[in-house]
């Protein structure tokens, strides 16, 4: 079997696969190092500090130095840890994140694979790493790690639902021009479209005039919230809560294994940002307003994607610098009692739009109303805090007596 890569014909399929894997690994490692450096610089600026300045010009080599240090560190395993679970856990966190890169549309016709069910694949793959988190928490034989692992599982599963529903809400109404991407040069006119696609490239292409954030404001906000929770980022960094469970599942890891968790965390952030750019901000297509015919140069497309993903990443860092952490019960009830019902309503409306072929502007109106509802719910919950649970009062009474 042979395939084509970089315009070279007849490349052996294994060689092709190897090249692609190496490309992802190299690309991801470099970008992640940049992200770590960027996070440190950006957070430092929020905190009136300078961040790294000493290693290399303006501290640019800091991440490289850190990586070298981590690789050189001793790989410790607690005596009572379960060897297999403990040592395999980093891979289970790490590999799914890599697999996610397969479907990311970087530029028009440049991605690892175009999958018809790309979004489904992304959702499926990104859910796997919860297993790794639980394994790390359980295998470390550390109670902090175990609590962290349990929290990660609860949180990951709870927020998977709003995340999937938000992607579904977009995918079901997106207007894909009738001849799909293989049809190459045949330009679609606006009248000939079908609704609904799970192909990320088509979703991007569909936004060549108006990005989805206009049609789906609520969905976008829910996606951001759920993505923060999936990434275990502030204010949902409960599994790793530094001040409570001191790093959670990673507490016993050191050296290269710990850096694998670290790498996976930032790689997951990157891929989530790229998916966000593709699904809501129009990826490489918007604002060029055209596709296929005389496509803008690839560097411009790549720049657009990078800027959109960068905006998402900056938002994540910004939130990290400004807000406290939620508590586990607040996190759970926010997902199940607020986000999930809102998303179900949104999906219902999307379904009506899809079935009756209503104009998309209805979605904007409904979405904005949803945003207002979300803000009102949060505001009300804060103004009228819940009284202490009865069980808590009872426990306290027992302790006092």
């Amino acid at each position: 079997m042979s395939t084509e890569i970089f315009g070279i014909e007849d490349v052996n399929v294994w060689v092709d696969g190897l090249i692609r894997v190496l490309l992802i690994v190299g690309f991801m490692t470099v970008v992640v190092m940049g992200l770590i450096y960027g996070e440190r610089k950006i957070l430092a600026r929020f905190q009136q500090r300078l961040g790294p300045t000493r290693t290399g010009p303006i501290g640019l080599l800091q991440s490289v130095a850190d990586a070298l240090k981590l690789v050189g560190k001793e790989d410790l395993r607690p005596r009572n840890a379960d060897p297999w679970t403990f040592e395999l856990a980093p891979y289970l966190v790490f590999i799914p994140v890599f697999l996610g890169f397969v479907i990311v549309p970087f530029v028009l016709d440049w991605q690892i694979r175009i999958l018809e069910l790309g979004l489904l694949y992304f959702v499926a793959v990104s859910g796997v790493n919860i297993v790794g988190w639980i394994m790390a928490g359980w295998g470390s034989d550390n109670r902090y790690a175990m609590i962290g692992g349990m929290r990660a599982a609860a949180q990951g599963i709870s927020y998977e639902l709003p995340l999937v529903l938000s992607l579904l809400a977009v995918a079901m109404v997106v207007e894909v021009p009738a001849p799909v991407i293989d049809g190459a040069a045949s330009v679609a006119s606006d009248s000939e479209y079908v609704r609904g696609s799970l192909n990320l490239n088509e979703i991007v292409a569909a936004q060549h005039e108006v990005p989805n954030l206009v049609w789906q404001p609520l969905v976008m906000i829910v996606f951001i919230i759920a993505a923060l929770a999936e990434l275990n980022r502030t204010p949902f960094d409960i599994p790793v809560g530094e001040s409570e469970v001191v790093g959670g599942p990673f507490v016993e890891y050191s050296g290269i294994r710990w850096s694998m968790f670290f790498l996976a965390e930032y790689a997951a952030l990157l891929i989530m940002a790229l998916v966000f750019a593709a699904v809501f901000l129009g990826g490489w297509a918007w604002p060029f307003g055209i596709w296929m015919d005389d496509a803008p140069p690839r560097w411009a497309q790549a720049l657009a994607v990078a800027a959109k993903a960068g905006a998402f990443i900056f938002l994540v860092f910004w939130i990290r610098a400004s807000v406290p952490r939620l508590r586990i019960d607040q996190l759970m009830s926010f997902s199940w009692k607020v986000l999930l019902p809102l998303m179900l309503v949104q999906v219902l409306v999307n379904g009506l739009v899809l079935v009756y072929d209503w104009p998309l502007i209805i979605l904007t109106v409904v979405g904005l109303a949803g945003v207002v509802a979300l803000a009102a719910i949060v505001d009300r919950a804060v103004r009228h805090p819940r009284p202490r649970p009865a069980v808590a009062a009872q426990l306290q009474g027992e302790a006092a007596s």
């Binding site: 001040s243 939620l326 019960d329 804060v382």
Partner: protein
């Protein structure tokens, strides 16, 4: 939600076991070497056993072996975040026993420094508390910036950044620098900005409110029963502020009201401290208006203090509450007994009552909200 989980009897014969987790003495949120063992069911704290004593250095015993002036240095080390306030109690106890009249200027400067120390200590609390509730570093650095300004000023005055030993029985060690007033006003301007920054960063933050309101509630009666003092007590609605109830130095000449709150929860303890910073700024400005030139040391102070027989329990309002020195003299140049009444020790006794029934994450912020300094707890 974990609390509503079925009780073991409802769950049938499925046997569950509570988990014991050990927090500290090496833990990022125990503010030093505090240790507590939590018995948890899921995420709910069912029991909490605190352990202290890791920083016990026998300051009380050491004071018995040194003369009255040498003891000042040990007081600094018991309460290193508000060393001026700790020195003040000790020095005033000596002065009360020896019946020394302290000159006016020295008193006003002491008040200014103690209030400045309160500002720096409360900022330290705000920063550490911000980290406890999970903001990554930002409040900590903001707090550090303000505290740094105060500590720079202390360094200019006393030559040290933490262990000042600047108050002496009878007055002050030496005169303050010539630009003292100007520098204090600079620091106050910066602190005022710092309070605004914190107000904007945390007070109105929805997540912060959700985390802290109705958490770690303690009623006024219980707080008095446990012997809590300072902002932690005032947050429960008891207007017990020694500066007002038993005015020492010239606090009776200043205009202020003790800051209290109603709820007695973590948020109130945070808010009381935030407001106290503004109050201290206001008090310092009033002090600066009344500050006049004059001697800073009582006349005819002997080189070696010899105190008459007697005993005094001198208490002052330190940032964390009532810092008392119980000094017994049997004559001679050394105290017979020095007891440090630690506000933190008494406040910490309430930790169990506040934390049981709350979540693990709450126990951490409740501990943070009491604002303990372990060296004061253990002495």
């Amino acid at each position: 939600m974990v609390v509503d989980a079925p009780t073991p009897s409802e769950a049938g014969d499925f046997e569950t076991q509570d988990l014991l987790i050990n927090v500290g003495p090496q833990h990022p949120s125990t503010h030093g070497v505090f240790r507590m063992v939590l018995e948890i069911d899921g995420e709910v704290v069912k029991d909490l056993v605190p352990y202290i004593g890791y920083l016990h250095r026998g300051a009380e015993k050491l004071c018995e072996n040194f003369d009255f002036r040498q003891g000042i240095g040990y007081m600094d080390r018991t309460e290193y975040l508000a060393a001026h306030n700790a020195e003040l109690s000790y020095v005033m106890a000596v002065e009360a026993l020896a019946e020394i009249e302290v000159p006016e200027r020295a008193q006003w400067i002491r008040m200014i420094l103690c209030e400045l120390n309160r500002i720096s200590s409360h900022f330290m609390f705000l920063g550490a508390f911000g980290v406890d509730v999970g903001v990554f570093g930002t409040p900590f650095i903001y707090a550090w910036r303000e505290r740094e300004a105060v500590i720079d000023l202390f360094e200019e005055i006393s030559g040290d950044r933490m262990m000042y030993a600047y108050f002496r029985p009878g007055g002050l060690a030496w005169e303050v620098p010539v630009n003292f007033e100007e520098r204090v006003r600079e620091v106050l301007a910066s602190s005022r900005q710092g309070v605004k920054d914190f107000d904007g960063l945390l007070t109105e933050n929805e997540i912060f409110i959700a985390r802290t309101k109705n958490v770690g509630v303690i009623s006024a009666e219980d707080a008095i029963e446990i012997g809590m003092s300072g902002p932690s007590l005032r947050a429960s609605g008891v207007p017990l502020d020694l500066r007002k109830t038993e005015p020492y130095m010239y606090y009776d000449q200043l205009e202020f009201e003790p800051i209290t709150a109603e709820g007695g929860d973590v948020f109130d303890r945070y808010l009381v401290r935030l407001k106290e910073i503004s109050q201290s700024i206001d008090l310092i400005e009033q002090c600066l208006e009344r500050l006049e030139a004059g001697p800073i040391m009582a006349e005819k102070m002997p080189r070696m203090l010899r105190l008459p027989e007697g005993e005094a329990y001198m208490r002052t309002e330190a940032p964390r509450g009532e810092y008392g020195i119980y000094m017994v003299s049997k004559g001679g140049n050394k105290p017979h007994r020095v007891k440090v009444r630690s506000a933190c020790l008494s406040n910490l006794q309430a930790l169990k009552q506040m934390s049981v029934g709350q979540y693990v994450a709450d126990a951490i912020i409740i501990l943070g909200s009491i604002d303990i300094v372990l060296s004061e707890v253990d002495r």
